[in-house]
């Protein structure tokens, strides 16, 4: 005769209660205070982490037995709740915090960007080609700008970079802090949308990157013909190192999602998407931080009319070099081992 549910409950309940106490103690206490010892010496003392893991495995066995033997629902439900809670506690990831952030910034993010090199190439071309084409077209014929933007916006560009721009370049009104807020809300929002739009088979990302390229070309070409090139280029040179790179990065990350959806390879589409998301999440972190830097630079440095254009060009060149060095060289040599880390 097999063990009846009552005998089963009577024999193993002490273990369940002990596990429950251990979990309560783990939930209540901070990790540092639980280092005393893994196994309790006193019966009233809550079990430590090692004992909890041991009890958890026992309870998993009990649950399997209870299900197999079709024990009453309340017994199975109790074990299910207990094991689910212990499972969460035991297998949760602990590698968060500052050191993980440091690892992400110094190693995983640039490695993840380098791993996207083909998507980056496509996104860069989709950005740069419209910029050049529209820029040259506008330069040859200033009226061409009206095919991309309407007259009101053109008038705005004039106000932002024209001779009447005054002390603050790149804006028609608003102080530094207002513009900082605006750049964060607007630019980071655009990059997030550009990334997410990649889920539409990559088309959304390509469209947004290309459209931004188009806009940049139109503005640049128009202002050059107006003779405002120095004001414009000295304004954009510094923050564009971060901003344009970030937009291209967000497009490349979005493309990666679209690519995984279109051509999942030997994985299922869902698996391919999940993997692409894991591989691109350091890139998302990277372009978000870059856009925050760009917003600060654009609001407080680029707009300052009193700084000589020569200084801005020099600082801008340093920023471009910095961005490329970071993305291209930082942590190079460990890429293979870093990208092996497929855990979530």
């Amino acid at each position: 005769m097999a063990m009846t549910p009552r005998q089963f409950e009577a024999r193993y309940e002490p273990a369940w209660v002990e596990l429950e106490r251990g979990l309560n103690a783990l939930d209540a206490g901070r990790p540092s205070r639980r280092k005393a010892g893994p196994f309790p010496t006193d019966a009233n003392e809550a079990p430590g982490a090692a004992r909890v893991a041991q009890l958890y495995r026992q309870c998993c066995e009990h649950l399997a037995l209870a299900r197999e033997r079709a024990y009453p629902v309340h017994l199975v439900a109790r074990l299910e709740a207990l094991t689910a809670r212990a499972h969460q506690r035991i297998y949760r990831r602990h590698d968060f915090g500052l050191s993980a952030l440091r690892h992400l910034a110094l190693h995983r993010a640039p490695a993840a960007v380098r791993a996207l090199r083909w998507h980056l190439l496509v996104a860069t071309l989709v950005f740069v080609l419209p910029t050049i084409v529209v820029g040259v077209a506008t330069w040859l014929d200033p009226h061409f700008v009206l095919t991309v933007v309407d007259a009101k916006q053109v008038h705005q560009f004039d106000g932002m970079y024209g001779p009447q721009a005054g002390e603050h370049l790149g804006r028609t009104s608003g102080d530094d802090w207002t513009m900082f807020g605006f750049y964060i809300m607007n630019n980071v929002g655009i990059a997030f949308r550009c990334f997410a739009a990649g889920l539409l088979l990559g088309v959304g990302s390509l469209f947004m990157v290309g459209y931004n390229g188009l806009l940049a070309g139109a503005v640049a070409g128009f202002l050059v013909t107006r003779g405002d090139s120095e004001r414009f280029f000295s304004f954009v040179v510094t923050h564009s190192a971060f901003e344009l790179t970030a937009i291209v990065l967000s497009g490349a990350a979005g493309l990666k999602l679209g690519h995984a959806m279109l051509a999942p390879g030997r994985l299922t589409r869902t698996q391919a998407l999940m993997r692409a998301a894991r591989e691109t999440s350091p890139v998302v972190f990277c372009f978000t931080v870059m856009l925050f830097i760009a917003a600060a630079l654009e609001a407080f440095w680029s707009s300052a009319g009193w700084i000589a254009p020569g200084v801005k060009y020099a600082v801008g060149a340093c920023c471009w070099a910095l961005v490329f060095a970071y993305l291209g060289l930082q942590g190079k040599g460990h890429d293979a081992t870093l990208l092996e880390d497929r855990t979530r």
Partner: protein, 238 residues
């Protein structure tokens, strides 16, 4: 192990299955609406206050609008409870589809991809995905490997009602034993008339109405109490 209902199975390394109860479009939609309302109220209050701050006021207003749109859900889903206030009010929770707490990168991914779920209008893609999938994931959940679940356990079956144990009239198969135990476990949630009605279906397995341990019962016993008695016997009480 297969289930008829909408439960989602997550297998652990120990080889046991954890049952998750994914939440459907309606509670999630309501939670989203509630979050939208909360975000709007917080923003309105912040804006009214910041409008009076000279200098940085407008900038901070814009930054708080950004934070409420993008950062609010990420932060709340990473805090203990793993739910935005709206989800918490609806009793929902975000977790990985492995049954583990949601990771930061998954929380970021699922919340950024809400944009794709929103397309082409009013969350059409997200709704379509939720309706088509057995685990009610929207696109962001699919990509991030997360699932929104009902946090609270629903207990349909409780402890068995007290009764003097009685042996069944015939030996029972496992499926019959399970059916009797399940029904007895739910007896407290049902009226006694309904329990009798259902227990009568198992009449052939129950002891006769006038049977009592060691003799004959003076009055016939209703099927419900007899089923409870058999359930106690099956539990091992002799």
């Amino acid at each position: 192990m297969t289930t008829l209902d909408t439960k989602l199975l997550a297998e652990t390394p120990e080889g046991i299955a954890i049952l998750l109860r994914p939440a459907g479009a309606v509670p999630r939609g309501l939670a989203y609406g509630l979050d939208l309302f909360i975000r709007f109220v917080v923003w309105a209050v912040a804006a009214a206050f910041l409008a009076r701050v000279k200098g940085m006021g407008t900038g901070l207003m814009l930054i708080s609008a950004f934070a409420l749109e993008w950062i609010y859900p990420i932060v709340f889903e990473l805090l203990p409870g793993a739910a935005t206030p709206g989800k918490r009010a609806m009793g929902l929770q975000v977790m990985m589809d492995t049954g583990l707490p949601v990771t930061p990168s998954a929380a970021v991914t699922r919340n950024l991809l809400r944009v794709a779920d929103f397309m082409p209008f009013m969350f059409a893609f997200g709704l379509l995905s939720m309706l088509l999938r057995a685990d009610f994931k929207r696109l962001g959940d699919v990509v991030a490997g997360t699932v929104v679940v009902h946090a609270d356990q629903v207990r349909l079956a409780g402890a068995l009602p007290e009764a003097e144990p009685l042996a069944p009239r015939v030996p029972l198969t496992r499926a019959q034993q399970v059916a009797i135990l399940h029904l007895a476990g739910r007896a407290r949630r049902l009226t006694s008339e309904r329990v009798d009605e259902l227990a009568a279906l198992a009449e052939n397995a129950l002891p006769p109405p006038d049977y009592a341990p060691g003799g004959v019962s003076p009055a016939p016993i209703r099927p419900g109490p007899r089923l409870a008695a058999v359930a106690q016997w099956l539990m091992g009480q002799r």
